[in-house]
Amino acid sequence: MTLAKINDDILNTLRPPSATYYAAVLLAVSALSLGLAAFLHQARTGLGVAGYEHPILWGIYITDFVFWVGIAHSGTLISAVLFLFRARWRTAVARASEAMTVFAVATAGLFPIIHIGRPWFFYWLIPYPNERELWVNFRSPLIWDVFAITTYLTVSAMFLYLGLMPDIAAARDKITDWRRPIYRLLSFGWLGSNKQWRHYTALYGFFAALATPLVISVHSVVSWDFAMSILPGWHSTIFAPYFVAGAIFSGLAMVITLLVPMRRLFKLEPYITVHHFENLAKLMLATSLIVGYAYLTEFFIAWYSGSPFEQGTFFDRMFGQYWGYSWMMFTCNVILPLLLFWKTVRTSLKALFVMSIFVNIGMWLERYVIIVTSLSHDFDPANWGGIYQPTWVEAAITVGSFGMFFTLFLLFIKNFPAVSITEMKEAVGHSPKTETSEIV
């Protein structure tokens, strides 16, 4: 494997796409349009077109929000945390994961806006000087969210971009079609000079070092949206680690979901190997075990607290109106991943792909269950009994969010190197005989 071969192989993925790709983009864009239309309908008509039922005032949108933030997490884990741990195998999957992070956070960031009653005033959540002399309430976890999500989006976007800069420069120097001026612009005039590389490496390290606590803080903050409230089922000290583990778990599943077809589509088999998938699967198994442990702890604490409110809520969660969701969540997130103890499962891409889909569903359900069941069964029994039935609007907006994510992701991987050229070259640079598949 030579540097030139790596360069060619990876930049080849930017070649004019196949019909399959166009079909995929069309599908994603259609989904996005559907979601957009549904949102416009909702904003014009009133939030009542969604299925909220008092006292369940948060529903699918917040579920989607937490889900997408969660998806974002494994990207940072792979790109930053594993970088700090010098896990070389991350090289192959880091770029795709980083991109996933950015797009997932961007998608997630829209949900609070979709969710609020007056989306046209969403900017009131941002502390900007205004003539009303009003600031925001920094005690509100939602403001923490604003800060955490903004920071996360900014930092991960910069992180992604920093890594991309030399690769875009490579594309600039290789691609000759109409995109060239764009690459030229986006490469910032990257030279690859020694000085630049020196600062680049330093900053990359710092980004990794900053992103690692950030990623933990972001999902902790998201979990505090719930944990800082007094609602039984939400008010829990274990939420932060529990959510972080869950987020990474769901994110890893999404990485697998994305990489399996991408690897096939772009013929990246030499770069992204079964071994990489097995590593991802091992991480998934570990996080699944943490999540399962968190579930059990929650129930134990509820029982041990002696609080009728906590006990009532958790009993209702498993045996109340929403029992189906809870058990399905438990199966997808805890029972099924136990299969990963077997190497045959870990190394079968088909099995992993199917499992990753189940985990995605399960993790989505986890947020749904936490939000909806806790709200439906709170302190005052006079409010109980309503069943939250989401409407087509919420479904369409959720589908639209997937549309947005996949649109962005598909456009990204066709226009930017989906595997880091620089890092691949770096890995084989010293010994041209190294095969990329050996970077593990």
Binding site: W135, H199, K425
Partner: protein, 170 residues
């Protein structure tokens, strides 16, 4: 009066040979060096005896600024228009820690990015590009800016260390 200078480019197929070229040019003090490579390379850094990047200073300043802002800004706003919520103290430090933390990271990262761009003289939307396109592909290049008298020594040095191509830049 500026002295007339010439610029000589050596293209190296591998970093190690480029590194030895760098070493010898530096030893012979033949001129100012710029090395272009497709990847960062530790060997080149050593050969160049490059100082530690001062990006870290930017990150530190950004981070400290962020942390300070993260506490000062919420405290300013609650004092500016005191509104009691939930019976909490106006200056309630624990929630502000979250803000301070996030701003530390955010401004630290932004500071680092700004420092990186500043130090790397990026973006360079106009102006010259690298002397050879292959430097983003698989080749390492060294340009030496020297006086016309030294050009031959440089060329020799390039040849000795295994340059695949040597040319004078206009």
């Amino acid at each position: 009066m500026t002295q007339p200078v010439v610029e000589l480019l050596g293209v190296f197929p591998c970093c190690a040979s480029a590194a030895s070229a760098v070493r010898s040019i530096r030893n012979e003090q033949l001129g100012e060096l710029v090395v272009y490579s497709p990847t960062p390379d530790h060997g080149l850094d050593t050969a160049l005896d490059a100082p530690v990047s001062s990006v870290r200073l930017f990150v530190l300043i950004g981070g400290l600024l962020g942390c300070a802002t993260g506490f000062a800004f919420p405290i300013y706003t609650v004092l500016e228009w005191p509104l009691i919520t939930g019976g909490k103290a106006l200056i309630s430090i624990p929630p502000f820690v979250v803000i301070a933390f996030e701003l530390t990271i955010l401004l630290g990262a932004l500071g680092g990015m700004a420092g990186f761009l500043w130090l790397s003289k990026l973006p360079r939307i106009t102006g010259e590009s690298a002397p050879d396109k292959r430097f983003t592909n698989d080749m390492t290049g060294i340009t030496v800016t020297c006086s016309p008298e030294q050009i031959e020594s440089v060329r020799t040095c390039f040849e000795r260390t295994g340059a695949s191509e040597i040319r004078e830049l206009p």
